[in-house]
């Protein structure tokens, strides 16, 4: 007789399928690199520049997310659906709200810690990303634990970099005397975002290459 664990595993299979082609990871990687780029633009341009307006950040972030979402869908339509099948995920409000609320709470907690806690952004980002990635991705694909290890060790190493070195990366950062973000915090965040984006992006790229090599669209009809 089927066990509840088996049924639960079947129910989770469609979620895992989203990253069967590595596009889930590539999307996250591109998003992190995009955030690093926006942060770098904010840090390296004068405080009065367009990039340092809060509205510019939200517009850029929204545009980036739309491009990533549409790009991933277009690739899936051309590559994934003809090879291993089409899935339309559930659109009910509850299913959509949960990750959005979780993401917003995490971002708010991260922002709060950065602003008032004076903690190392690389350490905090690492503590959020590593367990999330381990639970969401590595749990289902064994070799992804290597990515988890790289993320953990890399985040730890970035967090331990000397303050002077981190500050030198964002020396001209807008962190003025009234700002709560010191140049070393900005530098730490920039390197961490680049590192996380590149690592997860490369991991997704490897998955995509393997997927392309191992799968083929069935001849004739998709049935």
């Amino acid at each position: 007789m089927a066990t509840q664990e088996q049924v639960q595993s079947y129910l989770e299979q469609p979620k895992r399928y989203y990253n069967i082609d590595g596009l889930g990871e590539i999307s996250i990687g591109v998003m992190m690199l995009g955030f690093a780029l926006i942060s770098w633009l904010q840090a390296s341009t004068p405080k009065v520049s367009l990039w340092n307006r809060q509205s510019s950040f939200f517009v850029c972030a929204a545009l980036m997310l739309i491009v990533i979402d549409h790009g991933a869908k277009a690739v899936k339509k051309r590559i994934t659906y003809p090879r291993t099948g089409f899935v339309e995920y559930r659109r009910d409000a509850k299913a959509r709200m949960a990750p959005m609320v979780l993401g917003a709470v995490t971002a708010a907690a991260f922002g709060f810690l950065m602003k008032y806690g004076r903690v190392n952004p690389a350490a905090v980002a690492g503590m959020i990303v590593v367990p999330t990635y381990a639970y969401g991705v590595a749990r289902a694909v064994q070799w992804k634990w290597l990515t988890v290890a790289v993320l953990a060790v890399g985040s730890g190493a970035i967090a331990s970099l000397p303050t002077g070195l981190l500050a030198s990366i964002a020396r001209d950062a807008v962190a003025g005397p009234k700002s709560r973000f010191t140049p070393d915090m900005v530098g730490s965040w920039l390197i961490e975002a680049l590192f996380i984006g590149a690592t997860i992006g490369v991991s997704g790229g490897i998955t995509l290459l393997r997927y392309l090599r191992e799968t083929q669209a069935p001849e004739g009809a998709a049935e």
Binding site: Y10, Q13, Y81, P82, F86, V87, A222, E223
Partner: protein, 98 residues
């Protein structure tokens, strides 16, 4: 009668078959999916999968729509409200039985 045994006897026979249980669970978690996806995820051959889907369709649990995607025939499958209800009931009974 022992409650646990009664719960087992109340399990929906259509869904209880391992192949169909897998199909029902996969479809329960999504809005809809195509035949190719189910074939890939269940590792069943076309004949076996078709036969299970026919049984689920007969029971009114699955809705099958034949369509085209870029001139290629595509079979879309989704659980009907009755299918969702039956699957939820099956899970409840399974939990109570074990």
């Amino acid at each position: 009668m022992n409650e646990s045994i009664r719960n087992i006897s109340e399990l929906d026979r259509v869904i209880h078959e391992p192949g169909r249980l897998m199909i029902a669970a996969l479809l329960f978690a999504v809005e809809q999916a195509d035949f190719l996806y189910l074939q890939h995820e269940t590792d069943m051959n076309k004949g076996t999968l078709s036969s299970h889907l026919s049984r689920l369709e007969e029971a009114g649990y699955v809705e099958i729509t034949k369509t085209f995607r870029a001139k290629i025939p595509q079979t879309l499958l989704r659980l009907t409200p009755a299918g969702r209800q039956a699957f939820e009931g099956y899970r409840r009974n399974l939990k109570a039985a074990l």
